[in-house]
Protein backbone atom coordinates (compact mmCIF):
# COMPACT_ATOMS: atom_id res chain seq x y z
CA UNK A 1 0.00 0.00 0.00
CA UNK A 2 1.23 3.46 -0.88
CA UNK A 3 1.92 6.26 1.56
CA UNK A 4 -0.97 8.21 0.02
CA UNK A 5 -4.18 6.40 -0.91
CA UNK A 6 -7.01 8.29 -2.59
CA UNK A 7 -10.11 6.14 -3.03
CA UNK A 8 -13.30 6.96 -4.88
CA UNK A 9 -13.11 10.71 -4.31
CA UNK A 10 -15.99 12.78 -5.71
CA UNK A 11 -16.32 16.55 -5.48
CA UNK A 12 -19.13 18.60 -6.94
CA UNK A 13 -19.39 22.40 -7.13
CA UNK A 14 -23.05 23.05 -7.87
CA UNK A 15 -23.67 21.48 -11.26
CA UNK A 16 -20.00 20.92 -12.04
CA UNK A 17 -18.50 17.54 -11.30
CA UNK A 18 -14.96 18.66 -10.44
CA UNK A 19 -13.71 15.24 -9.39
CA UNK A 20 -15.39 12.01 -10.42
CA UNK A 21 -14.32 8.79 -8.76
CA UNK A 22 -10.62 9.53 -8.44
CA UNK A 23 -8.39 6.69 -7.28
CA UNK A 24 -4.73 7.29 -6.73
CA UNK A 25 -2.01 5.38 -4.97
CA UNK A 26 1.37 6.99 -4.42
CA UNK A 27 4.24 4.73 -3.39
CA UNK A 28 6.60 5.92 -0.67
CA UNK A 29 9.67 7.90 -1.76
CA UNK A 30 8.61 8.28 -5.36
CA UNK A 31 7.69 11.30 -7.44
CA UNK A 32 4.17 11.17 -8.76
CA UNK A 33 3.08 13.77 -11.31
CA UNK A 34 -0.51 14.71 -12.06
CA UNK A 35 -1.02 16.32 -15.44
CA UNK A 36 -4.03 17.30 -17.44
CA UNK A 37 -5.55 20.16 -19.37
CA UNK A 38 -6.94 23.27 -17.63
CA UNK A 39 -9.97 22.57 -15.53
CA UNK A 40 -9.19 18.88 -15.23
CA UNK A 41 -9.49 19.04 -11.45
CA UNK A 42 -5.80 18.91 -10.52
CA UNK A 43 -5.90 21.74 -8.00
CA UNK A 44 -9.21 20.53 -6.57
CA UNK A 45 -7.61 17.16 -5.94
CA UNK A 46 -4.66 18.79 -4.22
CA UNK A 47 -6.98 20.90 -2.08
CA UNK A 48 -8.73 17.73 -0.96
CA UNK A 49 -5.39 16.33 0.19
CA UNK A 50 -4.51 19.27 2.46
CA UNK A 51 -7.89 19.82 4.09
CA UNK A 52 -8.81 22.96 2.18
CA UNK A 53 -11.72 21.12 0.56
CA UNK A 54 -13.63 18.13 1.87
CA UNK A 55 -14.67 15.61 -0.82
CA UNK A 56 -18.36 14.70 -1.08
CA UNK A 57 -17.56 11.00 -1.02
CA UNK A 58 -14.44 8.87 -0.89
CA UNK A 59 -11.45 8.63 1.39
CA UNK A 60 -7.94 10.04 1.53
CA UNK A 61 -5.48 8.07 3.63
CA UNK A 62 -1.98 9.22 4.48
CA UNK A 63 0.22 6.55 6.11
CA UNK A 64 -2.99 4.66 6.84
CA UNK A 65 -4.69 7.62 8.58
CA UNK A 66 -7.56 9.62 7.13
CA UNK A 67 -6.85 13.30 6.47
CA UNK A 68 -10.49 14.20 5.83
CA UNK A 69 -12.01 16.66 8.26
CA UNK A 70 -8.65 17.63 9.71
CA UNK A 71 -7.57 21.26 9.80
CA UNK A 72 -4.66 22.38 7.59
CA UNK A 73 -2.26 22.66 10.54
CA UNK A 74 -3.11 19.14 11.70
CA UNK A 75 -2.47 17.74 8.24
CA UNK A 76 0.86 19.53 8.13
CA UNK A 77 1.75 18.10 11.52
CA UNK A 78 1.11 14.62 10.07
CA UNK A 79 3.98 15.27 7.65
CA UNK A 80 2.43 16.85 4.56
CA UNK A 81 3.81 20.16 3.29
CA UNK A 82 2.46 22.11 0.37
CA UNK A 83 3.96 24.55 -2.11
CA UNK A 84 1.30 26.80 -3.60
CA UNK A 85 0.75 27.89 -7.17
CA UNK A 86 1.47 31.51 -6.25
CA UNK A 87 4.19 31.53 -3.59
CA UNK A 88 2.71 31.88 -0.10
CA UNK A 89 5.36 33.34 2.17
CA UNK A 90 5.51 35.78 5.08
CA UNK A 91 6.20 38.96 3.12
CA UNK A 92 6.71 41.23 6.14
CA UNK A 93 9.26 38.94 7.74
CA UNK A 94 12.89 38.43 6.78
CA UNK A 95 13.92 35.46 4.67
CA UNK A 96 15.56 33.79 7.66
CA UNK A 97 12.45 34.27 9.83
CA UNK A 98 10.37 32.71 7.06
CA UNK A 99 12.38 29.51 7.42
CA UNK A 100 12.52 29.70 11.23
CA UNK A 101 8.74 29.53 11.56
CA UNK A 102 8.29 26.08 9.98
CA UNK A 103 11.27 24.84 12.02
CA UNK A 104 9.53 25.96 15.23
CA UNK A 105 6.28 24.39 14.01
CA UNK A 106 8.07 21.10 13.46
CA UNK A 107 9.69 21.08 16.90
CA UNK A 108 6.99 22.66 19.08
CA UNK A 109 3.79 21.48 17.44
CA UNK A 110 0.75 23.53 16.49
CA UNK A 111 0.90 25.81 19.52
CA UNK A 112 3.35 26.62 22.24
CA UNK A 113 3.56 29.66 24.50
CA UNK A 114 7.21 30.49 24.00
CA UNK A 115 6.72 34.17 24.72
CA UNK A 116 9.70 34.68 27.01
CA UNK A 117 12.36 32.82 25.10
CA UNK A 118 14.51 34.62 22.61
CA UNK A 119 14.67 33.57 18.96
CA UNK A 120 18.38 34.34 19.05
CA UNK A 121 18.92 31.76 21.82
CA UNK A 122 17.41 28.90 19.82
CA UNK A 123 20.75 27.93 18.32
CA UNK A 124 19.76 24.49 17.01
CA UNK A 125 16.77 25.81 15.13
CA UNK A 126 18.62 28.84 13.82
CA UNK A 127 21.50 26.66 12.62
CA UNK A 128 19.07 24.35 10.84
CA UNK A 129 17.25 27.22 9.16
CA UNK A 130 20.54 28.77 8.09
CA UNK A 131 21.69 25.47 6.62
CA UNK A 132 18.41 25.26 4.73
CA UNK A 133 19.00 28.70 3.22
CA UNK A 134 22.50 27.68 2.18
CA UNK A 135 21.06 24.57 0.54
CA UNK A 136 18.73 26.60 -1.65
CA UNK A 137 21.47 29.19 -2.24
CA UNK A 138 19.65 32.07 -0.56
CA UNK A 139 22.09 32.58 2.29
CA UNK A 140 23.15 36.07 1.19
CA UNK A 141 19.50 37.19 1.13
CA UNK A 142 18.70 36.07 4.68
CA UNK A 143 18.12 39.57 6.08
CA UNK A 144 15.97 40.82 3.20
CA UNK A 145 12.23 41.21 3.64
CA UNK A 146 10.66 38.27 1.85
CA UNK A 147 8.27 40.42 -0.18
CA UNK A 148 11.22 42.12 -1.85
CA UNK A 149 12.39 38.85 -3.43
CA UNK A 150 11.97 38.01 -7.11
CA UNK A 151 9.27 35.49 -7.98
CA UNK A 152 11.77 32.73 -8.52
CA UNK A 153 13.37 33.42 -5.15
CA UNK A 154 9.99 33.48 -3.46
CA UNK A 155 9.36 30.02 -4.85
CA UNK A 156 12.76 28.79 -3.64
CA UNK A 157 12.06 30.27 -0.24
CA UNK A 158 8.68 28.56 -0.06
CA UNK A 159 10.32 25.29 -0.95
CA UNK A 160 12.99 25.82 1.69
CA UNK A 161 10.23 26.47 4.22
CA UNK A 162 8.50 23.20 3.32
CA UNK A 163 11.71 21.16 3.17
CA UNK A 164 12.97 22.48 6.50
CA UNK A 165 10.20 20.45 8.12
CA UNK A 166 11.44 17.21 6.53
CA UNK A 167 7.94 16.32 5.37
CA UNK A 168 7.11 12.77 4.38
CA UNK A 169 4.98 14.06 1.56
CA UNK A 170 5.63 17.25 -0.40
CA UNK A 171 2.80 18.56 -2.58
CA UNK A 172 3.86 20.93 -5.34
CA UNK A 173 1.23 22.91 -7.22
CA UNK A 174 2.82 24.05 -10.48
CA UNK A 175 6.21 24.79 -8.94
CA UNK A 176 7.54 26.42 -12.12
CA UNK A 177 4.47 28.37 -13.24
CA UNK A 178 5.41 31.76 -14.61
CA UNK A 179 9.12 31.18 -14.17
CA UNK A 180 11.91 32.09 -16.56
CA UNK A 181 13.68 29.13 -18.22
CA UNK A 182 16.77 29.52 -16.05
CA UNK A 183 14.69 29.58 -12.86
CA UNK A 184 12.77 26.52 -14.05
CA UNK A 185 16.00 24.62 -14.58
CA UNK A 186 17.26 25.64 -11.16
CA UNK A 187 14.02 24.38 -9.64
CA UNK A 188 14.31 21.07 -11.49
CA UNK A 189 17.88 20.67 -10.23
CA UNK A 190 16.77 21.42 -6.68
CA UNK A 191 13.91 18.93 -6.84
CA UNK A 192 16.19 16.28 -8.35
CA UNK A 193 18.61 16.80 -5.49
CA UNK A 194 15.81 16.34 -2.97
CA UNK A 195 14.57 13.27 -4.79
CA UNK A 196 18.07 11.78 -4.80
CA UNK A 197 18.10 11.78 -1.00
CA UNK A 198 15.35 9.19 -1.28
CA UNK A 199 13.45 10.02 1.90
CA UNK A 200 10.60 12.07 0.54
CA UNK A 201 7.48 11.44 -1.50
CA UNK A 202 6.41 14.15 -3.93
CA UNK A 203 3.18 14.80 -5.75
CA UNK A 204 3.63 17.37 -8.50
CA UNK A 205 0.99 19.15 -10.52
CA UNK A 206 2.62 20.67 -13.55
CA UNK A 207 1.91 22.00 -17.02
CA UNK A 208 5.52 22.05 -18.15
CA UNK A 209 6.16 18.59 -19.64
CA UNK A 210 9.91 19.15 -19.46
CA UNK A 211 9.63 19.36 -15.68
CA UNK A 212 7.29 16.38 -15.48
CA UNK A 213 9.41 14.05 -17.60
CA UNK A 214 12.66 14.98 -15.87
CA UNK A 215 11.31 14.21 -12.40
CA UNK A 216 8.35 11.87 -12.32
CA UNK A 217 8.47 8.16 -11.55
CA UNK A 218 4.80 7.77 -12.39
CA UNK A 219 2.30 10.03 -14.08
CA UNK A 220 -1.46 10.27 -13.74
CA UNK A 221 -3.35 12.01 -16.51
CA UNK A 222 -6.50 13.72 -15.32
CA UNK A 223 -9.23 14.94 -17.66
CA UNK A 224 -12.61 16.34 -16.66
CA UNK A 225 -12.17 15.19 -13.10
CA UNK A 226 -11.36 11.55 -13.81
CA UNK A 227 -8.00 9.81 -14.20
CA UNK A 228 -7.50 8.66 -17.78
CA UNK A 229 -4.25 6.75 -17.48
CA UNK A 230 -1.64 6.07 -14.87
CA UNK A 231 1.75 4.77 -15.95
CA UNK A 232 5.50 5.36 -16.08
CA UNK A 233 6.58 8.41 -18.12
CA UNK A 234 7.86 6.41 -21.09
CA UNK A 235 4.43 4.93 -21.70
CA UNK A 236 2.54 8.17 -21.19
CA UNK A 237 4.23 10.12 -23.98
CA UNK A 238 2.74 8.21 -26.88
CA UNK A 239 -0.48 7.09 -25.22
CA UNK A 240 -3.44 7.69 -27.55
CA UNK A 241 -5.86 8.68 -24.78
CA UNK A 242 -3.47 11.34 -23.54
CA UNK A 243 -2.98 12.79 -26.99
CA UNK A 244 -6.71 12.85 -27.41
CA UNK A 245 -7.25 14.70 -24.14
CA UNK A 246 -4.69 17.36 -24.97
CA UNK A 247 -5.56 17.62 -28.67
CA UNK A 248 -9.24 17.73 -27.86
CA UNK A 249 -8.57 20.72 -25.71
CA UNK A 250 -6.54 22.30 -28.51
CA UNK A 251 -9.47 21.88 -30.91
CA UNK A 252 -11.82 23.55 -28.47
CA UNK A 253 -9.41 26.39 -27.94
CA UNK A 254 -9.39 27.37 -31.61
Amino acid sequence: MGILEVKGVNKRFGGLQALGDVNLSVAENTVHAIIGPNGAGKSTLLNCLVGKLIPDTGSVLFSGQSVLGRKPHEINQMGISRVFQTPEIFGDLTVLENVLIPCFAKRDGAYRLHAFESVADERDITAHAEQMLRDVKMWDKRDMLARALSRGDKRRLEMAMCLSQHPKLLLLDEPTAGMARADTNNTIDLLKEIKARGDITMVIIEHDMHVVFSLADRITVLAQGTPLVEDVPANIKGHPKVQEAYLGQAHQAH
Partner: protein
Protein backbone atom coordinates in the same frame (compact mmCIF):
# COMPACT_ATOMS: atom_id res chain seq x y z
CA UNK B 1 21.72 39.88 30.31
CA UNK B 2 17.99 39.67 31.16
CA UNK B 3 17.61 37.54 28.05
CA UNK B 4 18.20 40.52 25.78
CA UNK B 5 20.73 41.29 23.11
CA UNK B 6 23.23 44.09 23.78
CA UNK B 7 21.29 46.50 21.59
CA UNK B 8 17.97 45.78 23.30
CA UNK B 9 19.56 46.05 26.73
CA UNK B 10 20.87 49.47 25.79
CA UNK B 11 17.42 50.40 24.53
CA UNK B 12 15.80 49.27 27.78
CA UNK B 13 18.38 51.17 29.86
CA UNK B 14 17.61 54.37 27.96
CA UNK B 15 13.86 53.91 28.44
CA UNK B 16 14.41 53.24 32.16
CA UNK B 17 16.62 56.29 32.57
CA UNK B 18 14.12 58.52 30.77
CA UNK B 19 11.27 57.21 32.92
CA UNK B 20 13.15 57.76 36.17
CA UNK B 21 14.31 61.24 35.17
CA UNK B 22 10.94 62.30 33.74
CA UNK B 23 10.07 64.70 36.60
CA UNK B 24 13.23 66.64 35.72
CA UNK B 25 13.15 66.26 31.92
CA UNK B 26 9.51 67.27 31.60
CA UNK B 27 10.08 70.49 33.54
CA UNK B 28 12.34 72.44 31.21
CA UNK B 29 10.86 75.91 31.75
CA UNK B 30 11.44 78.04 34.89
CA UNK B 31 8.36 78.76 37.01
CA UNK B 32 8.57 82.47 36.32
CA UNK B 33 8.66 82.25 32.52
CA UNK B 34 5.54 82.45 30.34
CA UNK B 35 6.36 79.00 28.99
CA UNK B 36 5.93 77.36 32.40
CA UNK B 37 2.45 76.26 31.40
CA UNK B 38 4.05 73.92 28.84
CA UNK B 39 5.80 72.01 31.61
CA UNK B 40 4.51 68.48 31.99
CA UNK B 41 6.41 67.53 35.12
CA UNK B 42 3.50 67.43 37.51
CA UNK B 43 2.44 64.13 39.10
CA UNK B 44 -1.08 63.81 37.71
CA UNK B 45 -0.02 64.14 34.07
CA UNK B 46 3.08 61.97 34.43
CA UNK B 47 1.04 59.22 36.08
CA UNK B 48 -1.45 59.32 33.23
CA UNK B 49 1.29 59.17 30.61
CA UNK B 50 2.89 56.14 32.30
CA UNK B 51 -0.45 54.35 32.72
CA UNK B 52 -1.63 54.97 29.19
CA UNK B 53 1.79 53.92 27.93
CA UNK B 54 1.19 50.54 29.61
CA UNK B 55 -2.25 50.37 28.02
CA UNK B 56 -0.94 51.23 24.55
CA UNK B 57 2.09 48.90 24.76
CA UNK B 58 -0.25 46.04 25.62
CA UNK B 59 -2.71 46.99 22.91
CA UNK B 60 0.16 47.04 20.44
CA UNK B 61 0.99 43.40 21.23
CA UNK B 62 -2.39 42.55 19.75
CA UNK B 63 -2.87 45.23 17.10
CA UNK B 64 0.73 45.90 16.13
CA UNK B 65 1.88 42.30 15.90
CA UNK B 66 -1.19 40.41 14.68
CA UNK B 67 -2.99 43.24 12.90
CA UNK B 68 -6.29 42.41 14.63
CA UNK B 69 -7.86 45.76 15.53
CA UNK B 70 -9.78 45.53 18.78
CA UNK B 71 -12.22 48.36 19.39
CA UNK B 72 -13.15 47.25 22.86
CA UNK B 73 -10.03 47.34 24.98
CA UNK B 74 -11.43 50.06 27.24
CA UNK B 75 -13.72 47.40 28.72
CA UNK B 76 -10.68 45.75 30.32
CA UNK B 77 -9.49 49.09 31.67
CA UNK B 78 -12.90 49.61 33.25
CA UNK B 79 -12.93 46.11 34.71
CA UNK B 80 -9.49 46.72 36.18
CA UNK B 81 -10.58 50.00 37.73
CA UNK B 82 -13.68 48.56 39.35
CA UNK B 83 -11.69 45.57 40.63
CA UNK B 84 -9.16 47.84 42.31
CA UNK B 85 -11.81 50.03 43.94
CA UNK B 86 -13.55 46.93 45.26
CA UNK B 87 -10.30 45.76 46.80
CA UNK B 88 -9.99 49.20 48.41
CA UNK B 89 -13.51 48.82 49.76
CA UNK B 90 -13.19 45.25 50.98
CA UNK B 91 -9.56 44.59 51.86
CA UNK B 92 -7.30 47.54 52.37
CA UNK B 93 -6.11 50.77 50.82
CA UNK B 94 -2.89 49.03 49.81
CA UNK B 95 -2.86 49.09 46.02
CA UNK B 96 -1.21 45.67 45.57
CA UNK B 97 -4.27 43.36 45.94
CA UNK B 98 -6.30 45.64 43.72
CA UNK B 99 -3.68 45.66 40.98
CA UNK B 100 -3.25 41.90 41.10
CA UNK B 101 -7.01 41.40 40.86
CA UNK B 102 -7.33 43.91 38.02
CA UNK B 103 -4.70 42.04 35.97
CA UNK B 104 -6.41 38.72 36.64
CA UNK B 105 -9.89 40.00 35.82
CA UNK B 106 -8.60 41.78 32.72
CA UNK B 107 -7.18 38.45 31.56
CA UNK B 108 -10.37 36.51 32.30
CA UNK B 109 -12.59 39.04 30.54
CA UNK B 110 -10.20 39.11 27.59
CA UNK B 111 -10.32 35.32 27.38
CA UNK B 112 -14.13 35.31 27.27
CA UNK B 113 -14.47 38.16 24.79
CA UNK B 114 -11.54 36.96 22.69
CA UNK B 115 -12.85 33.41 22.56
CA UNK B 116 -16.00 34.63 20.81
CA UNK B 117 -14.60 37.56 18.82
CA UNK B 118 -11.64 35.70 17.34
CA UNK B 119 -13.98 33.48 15.36
CA UNK B 120 -14.05 36.35 12.89
CA UNK B 121 -11.31 38.51 11.45
CA UNK B 122 -11.01 41.99 9.96
CA UNK B 123 -13.88 44.41 10.41
CA UNK B 124 -16.15 41.73 11.92
CA UNK B 125 -13.66 41.14 14.71
CA UNK B 126 -13.50 44.88 15.41
CA UNK B 127 -17.29 45.16 15.50
CA UNK B 128 -17.62 42.18 17.85
CA UNK B 129 -15.10 43.63 20.31
CA UNK B 130 -16.81 47.01 20.06
CA UNK B 131 -20.17 45.41 20.80
CA UNK B 132 -18.80 43.59 23.83
CA UNK B 133 -17.20 46.74 25.21
CA UNK B 134 -20.41 48.72 24.77
CA UNK B 135 -22.27 45.93 26.53
CA UNK B 136 -19.85 46.20 29.44
CA UNK B 137 -20.30 49.96 29.46
CA UNK B 138 -24.08 49.71 29.55
CA UNK B 139 -23.99 47.03 32.22
CA UNK B 140 -21.76 49.21 34.38
CA UNK B 141 -23.88 52.25 33.66
CA UNK B 142 -27.26 50.84 34.57
CA UNK B 143 -27.82 47.13 35.12
CA UNK B 144 -24.97 46.41 37.49
CA UNK B 145 -25.45 49.51 39.62
CA UNK B 146 -24.97 47.63 42.92
CA UNK B 147 -21.49 46.64 41.72
CA UNK B 148 -20.51 49.81 39.89
CA UNK B 149 -22.60 52.55 41.50
CA UNK B 150 -23.79 53.51 38.01
CA UNK B 151 -23.28 56.94 36.55
CA UNK B 152 -21.81 58.60 39.61
CA UNK B 153 -18.94 56.13 39.80
CA UNK B 154 -17.52 53.89 42.46
CA UNK B 155 -15.22 55.12 45.22
CA UNK B 156 -14.03 54.00 48.67
CA UNK B 157 -16.19 55.23 51.50
CA UNK B 158 -15.89 55.45 55.26
CA UNK B 159 -18.56 52.81 55.81
CA UNK B 160 -16.69 50.16 53.79
CA UNK B 161 -15.61 47.05 55.73
CA UNK B 162 -11.94 47.26 54.62
CA UNK B 163 -11.13 44.27 56.79
CA UNK B 164 -7.35 44.69 56.82
CA UNK B 165 -6.81 48.33 57.72
CA UNK B 166 -10.08 50.11 58.48
CA UNK B 167 -9.23 50.31 62.17
CA UNK B 168 -5.88 51.97 61.58
CA UNK B 169 -7.25 54.72 59.33
CA UNK B 170 -9.25 56.33 62.09
CA UNK B 171 -12.10 58.59 61.05
CA UNK B 172 -11.05 59.23 57.44
CA UNK B 173 -10.72 57.31 54.20
CA UNK B 174 -7.00 56.79 53.82
CA UNK B 175 -5.28 57.55 50.54
CA UNK B 176 -4.25 54.58 48.40
CA UNK B 177 -0.81 53.43 49.42
CA UNK B 178 1.82 50.81 48.85
CA UNK B 179 2.67 49.37 52.27
CA UNK B 180 2.20 52.77 53.86
CA UNK B 181 3.76 54.88 51.12
CA UNK B 182 0.94 57.21 50.07
CA UNK B 183 0.42 57.54 46.33
CA UNK B 184 0.09 61.29 46.70
CA UNK B 185 3.35 61.67 48.65
CA UNK B 186 5.41 64.19 46.75
CA UNK B 187 8.93 65.35 47.38
CA UNK B 188 9.42 68.85 45.99
CA UNK B 189 12.85 70.13 45.08
CA UNK B 190 13.41 73.71 44.08
CA UNK B 191 16.41 74.23 41.88
CA UNK B 192 17.37 76.53 39.00
CA UNK B 193 14.10 78.41 39.38
CA UNK B 194 12.09 75.25 38.75
CA UNK B 195 10.07 73.09 41.11
CA UNK B 196 10.70 69.39 40.51
CA UNK B 197 8.05 67.10 41.95
CA UNK B 198 9.07 63.53 42.74
CA UNK B 199 5.80 61.75 43.37
CA UNK B 200 5.47 58.26 44.83
CA UNK B 201 2.47 57.44 42.64
CA UNK B 202 4.38 58.37 39.51
CA UNK B 203 7.32 56.18 40.48
CA UNK B 204 5.02 53.23 41.13
CA UNK B 205 3.46 53.71 37.68
CA UNK B 206 6.84 54.39 36.11
CA UNK B 207 8.53 51.29 37.50
CA UNK B 208 5.59 49.10 36.52
CA UNK B 209 5.53 50.60 33.03
CA UNK B 210 9.24 49.89 32.58
CA UNK B 211 8.64 46.29 33.70
CA UNK B 212 5.76 46.01 31.24
CA UNK B 213 7.90 47.51 28.52
CA UNK B 214 10.58 44.92 29.26
CA UNK B 215 7.95 42.17 29.04
CA UNK B 216 6.75 43.51 25.68
CA UNK B 217 10.35 43.64 24.46
CA UNK B 218 10.80 39.99 25.39
CA UNK B 219 7.56 39.06 23.61
CA UNK B 220 8.62 40.98 20.50
CA UNK B 221 11.92 39.07 20.33
CA UNK B 222 10.43 35.66 21.16
CA UNK B 223 9.32 32.90 18.77
CA UNK B 224 5.80 33.66 19.99
CA UNK B 225 6.12 37.27 18.82
CA UNK B 226 7.43 36.03 15.48
CA UNK B 227 4.35 33.82 15.08
CA UNK B 228 2.12 36.81 15.81
CA UNK B 229 3.86 38.83 13.11
CA UNK B 230 3.44 35.86 10.78
CA UNK B 231 -0.32 35.94 11.45
CA UNK B 232 -0.41 39.55 10.34
CA UNK B 233 1.68 38.78 7.29
CA UNK B 234 0.04 35.59 5.99
CA UNK B 235 -2.28 33.62 8.25
CA UNK B 236 -3.05 31.20 5.41
CA UNK B 237 0.59 30.16 5.11
CA UNK B 238 0.93 29.89 8.86
CA UNK B 239 -1.88 27.35 9.04
CA UNK B 240 -0.37 25.32 6.20
CA UNK B 241 2.96 25.44 8.06
CA UNK B 242 1.49 23.40 10.87
CA UNK B 243 0.65 26.17 13.32
CA UNK B 244 -2.78 26.78 14.75
CA UNK B 245 -3.30 30.53 14.61
CA UNK B 246 -6.35 30.59 16.92
CA UNK B 247 -4.63 29.90 20.27
CA UNK B 248 -1.81 32.27 19.29
CA UNK B 249 -4.35 35.01 18.66
CA UNK B 250 -6.22 34.25 21.86
CA UNK B 251 -3.01 34.37 23.90
CA UNK B 252 -2.11 37.73 22.38
CA UNK B 253 -5.62 38.99 23.12
CA UNK B 254 -5.43 37.84 26.74
CA UNK B 255 -1.97 39.35 27.24
CA UNK B 256 -3.14 42.70 25.90
CA UNK B 257 -6.29 42.42 28.03
CA UNK B 258 -4.11 41.92 31.11
CA UNK B 259 -2.06 44.99 30.20
CA UNK B 260 -5.32 46.95 29.89
CA UNK B 261 -6.59 45.59 33.21
CA UNK B 262 -3.33 46.64 34.84
CA UNK B 263 -3.67 50.13 33.36
CA UNK B 264 -7.23 50.34 34.72
CA UNK B 265 -6.09 49.17 38.14
CA UNK B 266 -3.35 51.79 38.24
CA UNK B 267 -5.75 54.53 37.16
CA UNK B 268 -7.99 53.66 40.09
CA UNK B 269 -5.02 53.35 42.43
CA UNK B 270 -3.80 56.85 41.58
CA UNK B 271 -7.25 58.41 41.77
CA UNK B 272 -9.72 56.13 43.60
CA UNK B 273 -12.79 56.77 41.50
CA UNK B 274 -14.06 54.52 38.71
CA UNK B 275 -16.88 55.54 36.40
CA UNK B 276 -18.47 53.72 33.48
CA UNK B 277 -17.20 56.29 30.96
CA UNK B 278 -13.79 54.65 31.28
CA UNK B 279 -15.29 51.76 29.27
CA UNK B 280 -16.94 53.83 26.58
CA UNK B 281 -15.98 53.34 22.95
CA UNK B 282 -14.27 56.74 22.80
CA UNK B 283 -11.80 55.37 25.36
CA UNK B 284 -11.22 52.31 23.18
CA UNK B 285 -10.69 54.60 20.21
CA UNK B 286 -8.15 56.67 22.11
CA UNK B 287 -5.74 53.77 22.53
CA UNK B 288 -6.04 52.99 18.82
CA UNK B 289 -5.13 56.62 18.12
CA UNK B 290 -2.17 56.43 20.49
CA UNK B 291 -0.82 53.30 18.84
CA UNK B 292 -1.23 54.51 15.28
CA UNK B 293 0.04 58.01 16.09
CA UNK B 294 3.17 56.63 17.73
CA UNK B 295 3.82 53.82 15.27
CA UNK B 296 1.96 50.53 14.98
CA UNK B 297 4.03 47.43 15.60
CA UNK B 298 7.01 49.32 17.01
CA UNK B 299 8.07 49.01 20.62
CA UNK B 300 8.47 52.66 21.50
CA UNK B 301 5.69 53.99 19.26
CA UNK B 302 2.73 53.37 21.59
CA UNK B 303 4.66 54.97 24.48
CA UNK B 304 5.31 58.06 22.38
CA UNK B 305 1.71 58.13 21.18
CA UNK B 306 0.37 57.87 24.73
CA UNK B 307 2.70 60.61 25.95
CA UNK B 308 1.90 62.81 22.99
CA UNK B 309 -1.88 62.56 23.32
CA UNK B 310 -1.99 62.88 27.10
CA UNK B 311 0.43 65.82 27.04
CA UNK B 312 -1.52 67.75 24.44
CA UNK B 313 -4.82 66.89 26.07
CA UNK B 314 -3.61 68.50 29.29
CA UNK B 315 -1.68 71.41 27.86
CA UNK B 316 -3.94 72.47 24.99
CA UNK B 317 -7.10 72.20 27.02
CA UNK B 318 -5.62 74.56 29.62
CA UNK B 319 -5.09 77.36 27.11
CA UNK B 320 -8.07 79.72 27.14
CA UNK B 321 -8.79 83.07 25.55
CA UNK B 322 -7.13 85.04 28.32
CA UNK B 323 -3.90 83.13 27.76
CA UNK B 324 -4.18 83.66 24.01
CA UNK B 325 -4.72 87.41 24.46
CA UNK B 326 -1.63 87.64 26.63
CA UNK B 327 0.43 85.89 23.92
CA UNK B 328 -0.65 88.26 21.18
CA UNK B 329 -0.79 91.42 23.27
CA UNK B 330 2.24 92.85 21.41
CA UNK B 331 0.13 93.11 18.23
CA UNK B 332 -2.33 95.92 17.42
CA UNK B 333 -5.71 95.30 19.04
CA UNK B 334 -7.55 94.30 15.81
CA UNK B 335 -4.77 91.92 14.71
CA UNK B 336 -4.66 90.44 18.19
CA UNK B 337 -8.40 89.69 18.02
CA UNK B 338 -8.04 88.05 14.61
CA UNK B 339 -5.17 85.84 15.78
CA UNK B 340 -7.06 84.80 18.90
CA UNK B 341 -10.20 84.11 16.85
CA UNK B 342 -8.21 81.82 14.49
CA UNK B 343 -6.49 79.84 17.23
CA UNK B 344 -9.49 79.74 19.56
CA UNK B 345 -11.19 76.65 18.02
CA UNK B 346 -8.00 74.60 18.38
CA UNK B 347 -7.39 75.08 22.11
CA UNK B 348 -9.32 74.73 25.34
CA UNK B 349 -12.45 72.72 24.69
CA UNK B 350 -11.50 72.41 21.04
CA UNK B 351 -8.20 70.64 21.53
CA UNK B 352 -9.73 67.53 19.96
CA UNK B 353 -9.72 69.43 16.69
CA UNK B 354 -5.96 69.86 16.99
CA UNK B 355 -5.60 66.17 17.74
CA UNK B 356 -7.73 65.32 14.70
CA UNK B 357 -5.64 67.47 12.39
CA UNK B 358 -2.40 66.07 13.81
CA UNK B 359 -3.69 62.53 13.45
CA UNK B 360 -4.68 63.08 9.83
CA UNK B 361 -1.29 64.58 9.11
CA UNK B 362 0.51 61.62 10.64
CA UNK B 363 -1.61 59.00 8.88
CA UNK B 364 -1.20 60.71 5.49
CA UNK B 365 2.44 61.75 5.64
CA UNK B 366 3.93 59.34 8.18
CA UNK B 367 2.06 56.03 7.96
CA UNK B 368 4.61 54.55 10.36
CA UNK B 369 3.72 57.13 13.00
CA UNK B 370 6.03 59.35 15.03
CA UNK B 371 8.64 56.57 15.03
CA UNK B 372 8.83 56.76 11.25
CA UNK B 373 9.21 60.52 11.52
CA UNK B 374 12.13 60.00 13.88
CA UNK B 375 13.66 57.39 11.58
CA UNK B 376 13.40 59.70 8.57
CA UNK B 377 15.11 62.51 10.43
CA UNK B 378 17.77 60.08 11.64
CA UNK B 379 18.34 58.85 8.10
CA UNK B 380 18.69 62.39 6.74
CA UNK B 381 21.19 63.10 9.44
CA UNK B 382 23.15 59.92 8.77
CA UNK B 383 23.13 60.28 4.99
CA UNK B 384 25.03 63.56 5.04
CA UNK B 385 28.36 62.35 6.48
CA UNK B 386 28.40 58.72 5.26
CA UNK B 387 26.45 58.89 2.04
CA UNK B 388 24.76 55.49 2.44
CA UNK B 389 21.22 55.88 3.62
CA UNK B 390 19.77 52.68 2.18
CA UNK B 391 17.36 51.37 4.77
CA UNK B 392 17.87 47.69 5.47
CA UNK B 393 15.30 45.31 6.83
CA UNK B 394 17.37 44.96 9.99
CA UNK B 395 16.91 48.61 10.88
CA UNK B 396 13.22 48.55 10.18
CA UNK B 397 12.67 45.45 12.24
CA UNK B 398 14.71 46.72 15.16
CA UNK B 399 12.33 49.50 16.14
Amino acid sequence: MLGLSKKDLMFLMIVTALTLAAPILLNPFPESSALAQFNAGYPDLMQRIAIFAIFAVGFNILFGLTGYLSFGHAAFVGVGSYATIWMFKLLSMNILPGILLSVTLGGIFAYLIGFVSLRRSGIYFSILTLAFAQMCFNLAYSVLTPLTNGESGLQPELSDPRILDAARAGGTVATPNLFGLGMNATWKVEALGRVFQFNAGYYVCGVISVLMFYLALRIFRSPFGMMLRAIKSNQHRLNYTGLNSRPYMLTAFVISGMYAGLAGGLLAAMDPLAGPDRMQWTASGEVVLMTILGGTGTLLGPVLGAGFIKYFENIFSKINDTVLHSWFSFLPKWLEDICVAIIHPFVGQGWNLTLGVLFMGVVIFLPGGLIEGGQRIGRLWRRKPGGNGAPSAKNAAAE
